[in-house]
């Protein structure tokens, strides 16, 4: 297991992030609440557009929340400004999906990592260089490659540069937004192993956003499932995969193809009908009801409440009311 503790590092309370799009309101993240413990990896899964990245960015204050609060180490950070905000930012970093687009092609690896040190005034001169080399070794890159440019590295290596940049400021919490999605299967394992090792070594806490449900299960202590801006289920990863409660989680898990022909032959798949509705105009009541095989009349009338149905197992579904 990871390095999970019982101490809450982050508490997210009724967080909302709405965007104005062409005069309409798009509720990208619509009232989500959960906690992340120190040293834990919380996986976040769900289909494209359900609000995973927006949730991550809003927690980090890269987006201003529309409503709600984020408590970090007991301190409400939702309203921080200026130097207080900057100081807080050091604690929280982000690793992005695209290792090609997220690194400036005109900067050397040393400058990319060094920039993070400069922003927070953490090291200068010889110390800065040593620190960069140390970070490169930490992510298993050759410290001698400090003056190379991103295009001289492979995809997996570029993702390591992104990780080194995030680690430069010694954060406590990292949002990993699909850090392996753009990588070949054979390379994904490198990055995942590295993230695990670093967590162990430095007690890091991760929010790990991904599409790949088997990788999420492997890396996460707990997993949250999102649908159209809402969190629909949250549980320990073993539990979620063994006994998913929400019909959407059940469908999602049954839809992942498993790399085992014998398992695939025996499997009963829940194939959902239709597409994900537009987030501009989500269905009334439970947002999932239009595709839900178990929808009941009350699902259209009322939004289900988010509640703990079993110890540590949360879901928002009328079936469990």
């Amino acid at each position: 297991m990871g390095t999970q503790t019982q101490e809450t590092l982050i508490e997210v309370r009724n967080l909302k992030k709405f965007f104005k799009v062409g005069g309409q309101t798009l509720k990208a993240v619509n009232d989500i609440s959960f906690t992340i413990n120190r040293g834990e990896t919380l996986g976040v899964v769900g289909e494209s557009g359900c609000g995973k990245s927006t949730a991550g960015r809003t927690i980090l204050r890269l987006y201003e929340p529309t409503a709600g609060e984020v408590i970090f180490e007991g301190k409400n950070i939702s309203k921080l400004q200026g130097s207080e905000l900057k100081a807080m930012r050091r604690n929280m970093q982000m690793i992005f999906q695209d290792p090609y687009a997220s690194l400036n092609p005109r900067m050397t690896v040393g400058d990319i990592i060094g920039e993070a040190l400069d922003i927070h005034g953490l090291a200068t001169g010889q110390e800065r260089k040593e620190r960069i080399q140390e970070l490169l070794s930490l992510v298993s890159l050759n410290p001698g490659h400090i003056d190379r440019f991103p295009h001289e590295f492979s995809g997996g290596q570029r993702q390591r540069i992104g990780i080194a940049r995030a680690l430069a400021v010694e954060p406590k919490f990292i949002v990993c937004d699909e850090p392996i999605s753009a990588l070949d299967v054979s390379v994904q394992a490198q990055v995942v192993n590295l993230l695990e090792q670093l967590q162990e070594k430095m007690g890091l806490t991760y929010m790990f956003i991904a599409h790949d449900l088997s990788m999420v299960k492997y890396i996460s202590d707990r997993v949250a499932v999102m649908y159209l801006g809402k969190m629909v289920e949250l549980a320990e990863s073993e539990k979620l995969y063994e006994k998913p409660l929400h019909p959407y989680t059940q469908a999602l898990l049954s839809a992942i193809p498993i790399p085992d022909p014998e398992v695939e032959r025996k499997r009963e798949r829940i194939v959902l009908q239709g597409d994900v509705p537009s987030p501009m105009n989500p269905p009334s009541g439970c947002h999932f009801r239009t595709r839900c095989p178990k929808a009941m009349p009350e699902c259209a009338a009322m939004e289900p409440v988010w509640k703990e149905v079993e110890p540590g197992h949360f879901t928002a579904c009328h079936l469990y009311n």
Binding site: V187, Y218, A255, I258, P261, V263
Partner: protein, 331 residues
Amino acid sequence: MEKILEVRDLHVTFHTYAGEVQAVRGVNFEVGKGEAIGIVGESGCGKSVTAQSILKLLPQPPVQYKQGSILFNGQDLLKKSEKEMEKVRGKEISMIFQDPMTSLNPTMTVGKQIAEGLTKHHKMSAAAAHKRAVELLEMVGIPQPERRVNQYPHEFSGGMRQRAMIAIALACQPQLLIADEPTTALDVTIQAQILELMKELQKKLGTSIILITHDLGVVADMCERVIVMYAGKVVESGTVDEIFYNPQHPYTKGLLRSVPRLDQNRNEPLTPIYGTPPDLLKPPAGCGYAARCESAMRVCQLYDPKLDMVRSNHQSACWLHHPLAQGKTGS
């Protein structure tokens, strides 16, 4: 099984300023009637170039089909003229791509695009073709097909566009469907719908399928046989069971070990493959995988291993299978 397609010793190159990129370097495989095969392998290993060569979709130059043959029902497609190929494309062999927007025409209604092949290849009247287009949209699971048939691709969601492309591809009931990462851009629940649809069509119409994907789960779900490519070559091929439960080539073993099993514990680290594939501008003389292979021997750097039968339904190209190397099997 009766063969519908036989690719023999295919070599395909690209002329570039830097030199000749040897994208496909002697590929061999076959597809049976009604069979679904999967092609897997790392980015850049030549999956798409192989697939597009079958329909000769790549512009010559810069592409050159250097060597080999592609027999479709016994006839060599590489010897056919462009005019003859037009009769094959869409009618006997169809292709669907990862990004439907690159192959759908944005200025034409979806219905017209489906009907096009029917009026061209089957000499159907416009009215009959329109009616058939509605039926096809219904078959691929698009709701309200009478209304949707008159809409443009941008009015469709990603999953619906992929379905529309499948409808176009199937309009003329091709014998072979080539699907190049058809679900990579889609969400898993939509992917499940599309894969289910393809399986149904394979069963109902007896269509043979070549499915290119990097997702080993999709292969396990869809395919009867698997071709593993690496650096422009086939390194291993066999039935899904042979490839998943009895892999022989170190690259295939590496691929299978780098994805977590559903029951894999976090204490059990994943096993990545380090390094990168060779530059196909200057491919190595020996085995393309030797530089990354844990079990590489001297011979691997010098000579390229041939694809050998390891069992009746299983071939692999590796020096470790040579009688003189027995006992050195590494991992």
